[in-house]
């Protein structure tokens, strides 16, 4: 009995390692081998040599870097600045500002791209005004267009990283600098900005990674105008039918992955630099009091900027979804509900929605269960296997989606010699791919949720004579369900609106929402694409509001009752006097 239990206990980690290898490591290994496979079946660096000698590869690499760096700069500057305003200043309407900043985080980037291309279309209102006053029309199908849209899409990534860090910087550290004889501006620069620097850097690296990973923006704006970047170039190679197209795509993927993994390591470095602030609670008090006129200027300036970035293009897209044909003027006689009627009746669209909803639900449920179990094993059972599994899962999240899609094809046709699960070409390959991609997010989310539960609470449950079942149903689940579900929402939405993986992995019967919109756009049916995007946007934003209603509400309340909030700060200091000072 004792012996079989020991064998069982030893078998679990082995099984976990095998699973990690099968789902996370082997696909990437397969891709690596494919990149070294030459046309004649031998192995060598031939693919890389061939690629690097091609002008178009150089162009794609250079474009990728220019676009990623410039869009990151835009996201970093705007994101950090708005984070500073909402974290520290006395501007009002912080709730609505935060909501607007976060919009691009939940609306898929291809819908944002569509809205911008609708707003800046050659025959649109904006370019009409611009050309009327004698300026050259703005063309969004250019490098500049891609950079701008990507930059705007990535603002929330920087914002989220920076705003939490800014709020965590203890007020005392800033006041200590004031007491040392520095003005508020100097204290902000020398202490707060310096302390937030790792977060700004980490957020920027994440924005950079998201930019090189992004497929939809360069696909929507760059393919038709012949601007290659690595992600779209891989896509073109992978769907092309050249004799050597897959190995070439694999080789390109390796190049892109190297950049991505290097970036991820850099981000990890910055995060560890700022980790000393992890345990500190966020402080929502106003720290910088602007005079009334300045406050209004910043408040309305920020709102105006966010309106221009997020709302006006969306309105333009909404308008074009009611047009009978692309490019018509927005007049009563040109309006129709035909596009929406088509979207609701078309069998392809309905099946795409069914596919995507199924995919999102299955992915989310599997991720919640597996992710929470792994997080629990990692935190409470101190399982090495769980830690390694998480590392493997983060690898498939770090590499760009287009690369993962390729790896999925190579791997799942015949994952083990002689074993052909036959999932390629069915919805199952998408489910596997989504889980492979998003699982690490749930592991992280569940880890955060579990960290809020003191192990002593579980021990107290055990000490009260209750077993495993009571521990989970009476203690853990009530405490972690909320945070886990709101974290899982950030898996549900991306998998509902996913485009990159499905662009390569979907087959005729398993088209997703993203792919359908992509196909309409590529086929020139802009109004249909717009109508479908409008529906998706409403659903996703509505869901976001419901999930975050508490937060939206509390931010509003906090802003309303903002006046001098020093007293709350006093209380916070007293409630949480960390015995070790400001270092853990």
């Amino acid at each position: 009995m004792e012996k079989t239990r020991k064998i069982g206990a030893a078998a679990i980690p082995v099984a976990v390692y095998l699973l990690a290898a099968l789902f996370f490591i082997l696909p990437l290994l397969r891709l690596f081998i494919m990149s070294l496979t030459l046309e004649d079946g031998t192995y060598g660096l031939g693919n890389f040599i061939q690629l690097l000698s091609e002008e178009r590869t150089h162009e794609a690499i250079i474009n990728t870097i220019i676009i990623a760096v410039s869009s990151t700069a835009i996201a970093a500057v705007i994101g950090s600045f708005i984070a500073f305003l909402t974290a520290y200043s006395n501007i009002k309407r912080k709730g609505i500002i935060e909501f607007l900043v976060m919009l691009p985080f939940i609306i898929p980037s291809y819908i944002i791209t569509l809205s911008w291309s609708s707003f800046l279309s050659t025959r649109g209102a904006f370019n009409g005004i611009i050309t009327a006053i004698g300026l050259p029309a703005v063309d969004i199908y250019t490098m500049g267009g891609i950079i701008l849209v990507l930059g705007f899409c990535n603002i929330p990534i920087v914002y989220v990283n920076v705003v939490h860090m800014l709020r965590k910087i203890p007020r005392d550290m800033e006041w200590a600098a004031r007491a040392c004889g520095y003005s508020q501006r100097q204290a902000m620069l020398k202490i707060n900005l310096r302390s937030a620097a790792p977060a700004i850097a980490a957020g920027s690296v994440l924005a950079f990674l998201s930019a090189i990973d992004n497929f939809s923006v360069p696909a929507f704006l760059g393919i038709s105008s012949g601007i290659p970047v690595l992600s779209t170039y891989i896509y073109e190679n992978a769907i092309g039918f050249g004799p050597n197209s897959f190995p070439l795509a694999a080789a390109l993927s390796m190049i892109l992955s190297v950049i991505a993994v290097a970036g991820t390591l850099l981000e990890g470095f910055f995060v560890s630099r700022g980790a000393s602030m992890d345990s500190i609670r966020e402080d929502y008090d106003v720290r910088v009091e602007f005079k009334e006129s300045k406050r209004k200027a910043f408040e309305w300036g920020t709102l105006g900027l966010l309106m221009i970035l997020n709302i006006i293009p969306m309105l333009s897209m909404l308008a074009s979804s009611f047009l009978k044909a692309y490019g018509l003027d927005f007049k009563p006689e040109n309006l129709t509900f035909k596009n929406f009627a088509f979207v609701f009746q078309n069998r392809g669209v309905v099946s795409a929605i069914t596919t995507s909803v199924t995919l999102a639900l299955v992915t989310t449920v599997v991720c919640i269960i597996a992710g929470t179990a792994i997080a629990y094993a990692k935190l409470r059972l101190k399982s090495r296997a769980a830690v390694i599994l998480e590392k493997c899962a983060s690898l498939t999240y770090a590499i760009p989606g287009i690369v993962l899609a390729l790896a999925m094809i190579f791997h799942w046709v015949e994952p083990l010699p002689g074993f052909r699960p036959g999932i390629y070409g069915t919805i199952n390959i998408l489910i596997v791919a989504y889980i492979t991609r998003y699982l690490v997010m749930q592991i992280k989310g569940s880890t955060t949720a579990l960290l809020t539960v003191d192990p002593a609470m579980e021990e107290a449950c055990a000490a009260s004579g209750r077993g495993f079942a009571a521990r989970w149903t009476k203690i853990l689940l009530p405490l972690i369900t909320g945070p886990i579900l709101s974290g899982a929402f950030m898996i549900f939405v991306p998998s509902l609106t996913e485009l990159t993986l499905s662009s390569i992995l979907a087959s005729a019967g398993t088209k997703t929402i993203g792919l359908t919109i992509f196909n309409y756009q590529q086929g020139g049916d802009y109004n249909l694409a717009a109508a479908m995007s409008v529906i998706i946007t409403i659903l996703v934003v509505g869901g976001y509001c419901i999930v975050n209603r508490k937060h939206l509400f509390s931010v509003n309340k906090e802003v309303k009752g903002y006046e001098p909030a020093y007293k709350k700060g006093d209380k916070k200091l007293r409630e949480d006097p960390s015995p070790e000072g400001n270092q853990p």
Binding site: W175, R178, A179, C180, R194, S276, P577
Partner: protein, 335 residues
């Protein structure tokens, strides 16, 4: 001076005169407004009404608000507020690089930094980051940073509450030394009675945003003026009875006490304050009858809780005779 936050009045009419080089402890339970008072003096928050001034210069109030950085002060925070990215030496140099010390020569600055590091015993750790220091060392860095610019006022916000018991005693001595060395006026906020009694020249007792009593540690301890001061600082027992001129008849007993110094607040409420060490326990006999409810051995003395009618009296006894819980005893008042 007053301070309100919205509708709640955090400070009610505080009037204080502080002399140069005085060590003032502001003592009170949490939420009494002592930190608010300190922050107003520091200039981190503005008083709702009233004036804060140093010598003849108005710091806050009357439409003026001298910013923190232009006030001649140093501050030590409860959380130490060290900057994780700076070494000990950089912390100590930081104040001298501010515009406040533009007038100092490089040589003077260097000397001041060395002095501050030496007198806080930080020499061996000068190049370490806060993360590599122990709690006591961090506290010393915070002290060195506060005194290096020789401010005329030092503000300390519960500086020892984050340290463990033994370090607290050690740091008390250190802070006293610094006070002697620098001659700065110290405003020291604490909720620890023994800290205030041990270090301060004068103690300000606060409760619910108002000052209860101001006085030297001896005055506060021996002659508490209010019920709160009596119970909070010297842990006085309040014996119920009735006053007639300077004599006090204890309820339900045939015991008369005499005092001409008990303040009016006690007299009006029919109370007589007795410190725990003023009470004497003896085997049942003459005096107020009681039953030992609890006994705590403390080394030098034994702390008893004695059930006396519906009241629990605290008695600190250093006598050799010991009593056990349940013993019937009688309590008398010593001189």
């Amino acid at each position: 001076m007053t301070k309100s936050f919205g509708k709640t009045q955090a400070l009610k009419e505080i009037n204080l005169d502080i002399a140069d080089s005085e060590f003032i402890a502001i003592l009170g339970p949490s939420g009494c407004g002592k930190t608010t008072l300190l922050r107003i003096v520091g200039g981190f928050i503005e008083p709702t009404s009233g004036i804060v001034s140093l010598n003849d210069q108005i710091y806050s109030g009357d439409g003026h608000m001298v910013p923190v950085e232009e006030r001649d002060l140093g501050m030590v925070f409860q959380s130490f507020a060290l900057w994780p990215h700076m070494t000990v030496r950089q912390h100590v140099e930081f104040p001298l690089k501010s515009p406040r010390h533009k007038g100092m020569s490089e040589k003077e600055k260097k000397e001041a930094v060395e002095n501050a590091i030496n007198c806080t015993g930080l020499k061996p750790y000068a190049d370490r980051l806060p993360g590599e220091l122990s709690g006591g060392q961090r506290q010393r860095v915070a002290l060195a940073r506060a005194i290096v610019g020789r401010p005329s006022i030092l503000l300390m916000d519960e500086p020892l509450s984050a340290l463990d018991a033994e370090l607290k005693i050690e740091m008390r001595r250190e802070i006293q030394n610094i006070h002697k060395l620098t001659g700065a006026t110290i405003l020291y906020v604490t909720h620890d009675q023994s800290e205030a009694l041990a270090m301060a020249d004068r103690i300000i007792i606060m409760k619910d945003g108002a000052v209860e009593q101001i006085g030297t540690p001896r005055e506060i301890y021996m002659e508490p003026q209010t019920v709160f001061a009596a119970t909070f600082v010297s842990r006085c027992n309040l014996i119920k009875g009735s006053w007639n001129e300077d004599s006090f008849k204890v309820d339900q007993e045939n015991v008369m006490l005499h005092s001409s110094t008990v303040p009016w607040e006690f007299r009006n409420k029919g109370l007589y304050p007795v410190r725990p060490e003023q009470l004497l326990i003896s085997p049942e006999g003459q005096g107020m009858p009681g039953i030992i409810a609890n006994k705590q051995y403390n080394g030098r003395e034994i702390h008893y809780s004695v059930q006396y009618h519906d009241q629990i009296l605290t008695v600190y006894s250093s006598s050799q005779t010991e009593f056990d819980p349940g013993d019937r005893v009688s309590i008398t008042l010593t001189a």
